[in-house]
Symmetry: C2
């Protein structure tokens, strides 16, 4: 039997028919030209129909991974900033449109579940997945099950406080890990540095890059010995690496899966994370954990959402 | 049906026959005059026999909570400092002696499970239990199940690093939370202060207390405005409160249960923990969590061990 997996981002909806082994039989991607919930449901339903048709495999259920905060097991999207949504009962709406049971989770948990079942987490029972992209997030799998928490917000690793009273975060609080190492905040700190007038190699690197800022340029400047860039980079990576090491002490996972654009492009960060685990994680937990890149790329969320529903 | 719960400390073994509702039908406490594993097994078997006899209820299984590091689900105590044990297959030995299946876990998890089933955690699905006594530890219950981790050491909250390269901890690493706020380390820091010759009200308070140091005296001196005591106390409680707030962000429990001698006697600490949650935990997780004292006292471990086996 197959299930439908849906990956609902801010600009596209992707839908795929996935078999029990996690293989994608057919996939469709449709741009969200209109983000009103009713229209998005229509778009997903159309993608579902196309994918089902293309795979010639009937689907028994649908799993959705959406970028946003999902309220418990209720099928309600509490907040989805990229879609401009608040309190949208997407699960119920999709159930009506598709005539199939719908399981709703956040995109990161969907991706973690895909990696756990058929990707880099396969075979382990306790897996912690940590992403550093525009934002910072994580998903905890313990005893072979997703840990959602009492209100559905477990895993919000980007919002642990690393500098009490520090930089303001998008969540409205101060000093969050994400406010230092999240991609958007790394770029903001780079802009602040460039505007400060303080001498930095970064200016020249950004110019050579056609004026485009990327976290990798910051890493290069820092590793190239630029003091100003190094201060920003070292603070960001230092906070990240220590927080990861501590979380592994508490969770004792068999694997730490890492992903997200920032970690993908900043190779030095992965190394710093590994060093921090060796140095700061409690001994037994450090011995146990294997640090691995997420393996399924953009398909992880699609596959995971489908397998969560199967 | 009833099961036997055993609480194996460093100085006594307690055994109780516990029914399915978590009620203790009979309990026996026997001092460990000899700590060799074979002798301890004999003592537990004798306690079991006495308790079973006193309750006139047959037991179907035995659960043991032991102060130490338990290796996964293997029934082996990897390290039990209070008993001077390393790699003792207690589960297997007790199974032979009692002729009943034996479930072995650490004392803190047993207590957390007791609180979860019939104590202060009752009715919740996601509960985090955190103890600050001589040492600092925690037990995570997520999705209604104990999180043990890949190597059985999940929950080692006392060994998250709060000051990289800081005070040396009993575990051999530096800068652990326990090295600042664990009872043994609070006393050590008080002794260091008294020996430093730095003026402090603590000296007088300790003298009035017959020369006996307690963490509560440190709290009193700090709250009484003594600068030297306040520095130690504020650092310890500050690290504890922030680490707790962050862990709640990641775990999103419905309840935080707190216990242990230090928290029991230092009332200001609980308040500081609550304030830190309000200030530093991510918004939704902070709204959700209720902070409650553990309710079953010394019986929590006995009851929890028995219920884990049932």
């Amino acid at each position: 039997m197959s299930t439908l997996g849906v990956d609902l981002g801010g600009t596209n909806a992707r839908a795929a028919v996935v078999n029990e082994e996690g293989k994608i039989l057919a996939a469709v991607k449709i741009p969200l030209d209109d983000r009103r919930p009713e229209r998005v449901v229509d778009i997903i339903a159309r993608a579902a129909l196309e994918a089902t048709h293309a795979s010639s495999s009937p689907i028994t259920a649908c799993g959705v991974g959406a970028a946003g905060q999902i309220r418990g097991d209720s099928g309600v999207i509490a907040v989805a900033p990229n879609l401009g949504w608040r309190d949208v009962p997407l699960g119920q709406m999709l159930h009506r449109a598709l005539g199939r049971p719908v399981t709703l989770t956040n995109d990161l948990r969907a991706a973690a579940w895909g990696e756990f079942k058929v990707g880099a987490g396969r075979g382990a029972r306790d897996v912690w997945t940590m992403f550093v992209g525009t934002g910072v997030g994580s998903a905890v799998i313990a005893n072979g099950a997703l840990v959602t928490g009492a209100r559905g917000v477990a895993g919000e690793f980007g919002h642990v406080k690393v500098v009490p009273g520090g930089r303001r975060c998008g969540c409205g609080q101060h000093g969050c890990l994400e406010a230092y190492v999240g991609g958007a905040h790394l770029l903001e700190q780079m802009r602040e540095l460039l505007q400060s007038g303080r001498p930095t190699l970064l200016a020249e690197r950004v110019t050579s890059n056609g004026g485009v800022l990327t976290p990798a340029l910051l890493e290069e400047a820092a590793e190239g010995g630029d003091q100003a860039a190094k201060e920003i980079y070292d603070a960001a990576v230092g906070h990240l690496a220590l927080a990861v090491a501590n979380q592994i002490t508490v969770l004792n996972p068999a694997r730490l899966l890492i992903g997200g654009g920032v970690l993908l492009h900043c190779h030095g960060m992965r190394q710093r994370i590994k060093e921090a685990i060796a140095k700061y994680t409690s001994e037994t937990a450090a011995e146990q954990v294997t640090v691995t890149d997420a393996a399924l790329g953009d398909d992880a969320g699609l596959i995971g959402a489908a397998l969560l529903a199967s």
